[in-house]
Amino acid sequence: MNSAAAHGILSCHSCGLVSRASKNHHDMVCSRCETSLHFRKNNSISRAWAFLIAAYVFIIPANLLPVMETGSLFGSEKDTIISGVIFLWNSGSQALALILFFASVFIPMAKLVSLTYLLISVQRRSTFQPKNRTKLYRILEFVGRWSMIDVYVAAMLTALVQFGSVMSIRVGNGAIAFGAVVVLTIMAAESFDPRLIWDSIEKTKNNENFSKEKHV
């Protein structure tokens, strides 16, 4: 048994102070910075699922509805996320088009799929490649914020291109849905507790030791 929880010891997630748990494990507060302490994040799995399912719902309108509406003398044009990427590619900035593609198409999708995988694997007490699954979680945490790019682009274009009837850009409803996806996936990743990955490893290890002892 190597985990701190098994020894009744826990560290503050805010300042890192290591302290011994109180007897009933309730209302524990860090003696140094007064953050409330928990062995594992509260209701980690159900909270993460809730945010994740909400994100799955919002990702559909985020990709189908326009994120930007351009009105000009020659009529109006609606841009979805994908068509924005294609426009950028065709106008000669392939590098930026690739960044935008990764940030607003690939990363949100990959994030949803990998979080789903992490949650299911933890619930099934999988012992498969815990180190790589922890690494995957770390990447998810780091990369999620970059999806916001598209929201910022739509917002800036709207603020700048305000030439009345000659040419005006408005943010479309897709941007709201897309922003919701980004915020919800960040919250889902934050609710997930990577220590749960290692808990099932320790549990099976202990069971193995236990059965070995019985056989002897």
Binding site: L88, L160, V166, M167
Partner: protein
């Protein structure tokens, strides 16, 4: 078991002995490879200097317009808060709120909190409410998205440059500098060192 000598991995909950580190050394979790701690003797000082710099840049970035575009005699420029205002007027208050929080409020909270914690500490003091300021700073950190906003600006400019004439303004440059200042200030904030200094302060005050 001596609790002081232990460190617990945030990612996999493994208990380990703290190892003696030399400057610049990094302590990694032996099971999952997570970075437990990096010793940085001058970290708090760097953090304070860059937080003060960031505050000055933050003010500049919000007073001056970011870019001006012009096309056929028509001109338009905007500040960051101008963006929020226009979005709000366009019935896009949710998007406006998202921009306001991630590019204005959270960076402001992060910079102010760093200054509030570190500047008095430099003079051997701790200000009231220091613990809750510390907790708030930790909570807002994931939502500071200045660097993402910068990349968004870059893409905006390149999208527009084919259609209109784009002139970068003062706030664009100060925003780029702000991005670096915030990142340097927050990665140099050494938590272990910070609490160590605060605790030393308390014990010396008690002994007097």
């Amino acid at each position: 078991m001596q609790l002081d000598s232990l460190v617990i991995c945030e990612e996999c909950d493994l208990i380990q002995q703290k190892s003696p580190l030399e400057s610049g050394d990094e302590e990694l979790c032996i099971r999952c490879g997570y970075s437990l701690y990096k010793l940085n003797p001058n970290g708090l000082q760097y953090s304070l200097v860059f937080a003060l710099t960031a505050m000055a840049l933050f003010i500049l970035s919000n007073i001056y317009p970011i870019v001006t575009i012009s096309s056929q005699g028509l001109n338009n420029s905007t500040t960051l808060l101008g963006v929020v205002q226009i979005l709000h007027k366009d019935d896009m208050s949710l998007v406006a709120l998202l921009v306001l929080i991630t590019t204005f409020l959270t960076p402001l909270i992060e910079i102010s909190a760093l200054i509030y914690l570190l500047l008095p500490l430099k003079f051997g003091m701790v200000l009231p409410g220091m613990k809750s300021v510390y907790r708030w700073m930790r909570k807002t950190r994931p939502w500071v998205m200045v660097e993402v906003f910068m990349l968004g600006l870059l893409i905006t400019i390149s999208k527009l440059s084919g259609l209109v004439f784009v002139v970068p303004e003062i706030a664009l440059i100060s925003f780029v500098l702000l991005m670096f200042a915030i990142i340097i200030a927050s990665i140099n904030f050494d938590e272990r060192m910070f609490w160590h200094q605060v605790e030393n302060l308390n014990t010396t005050q008690r002994s007097i």
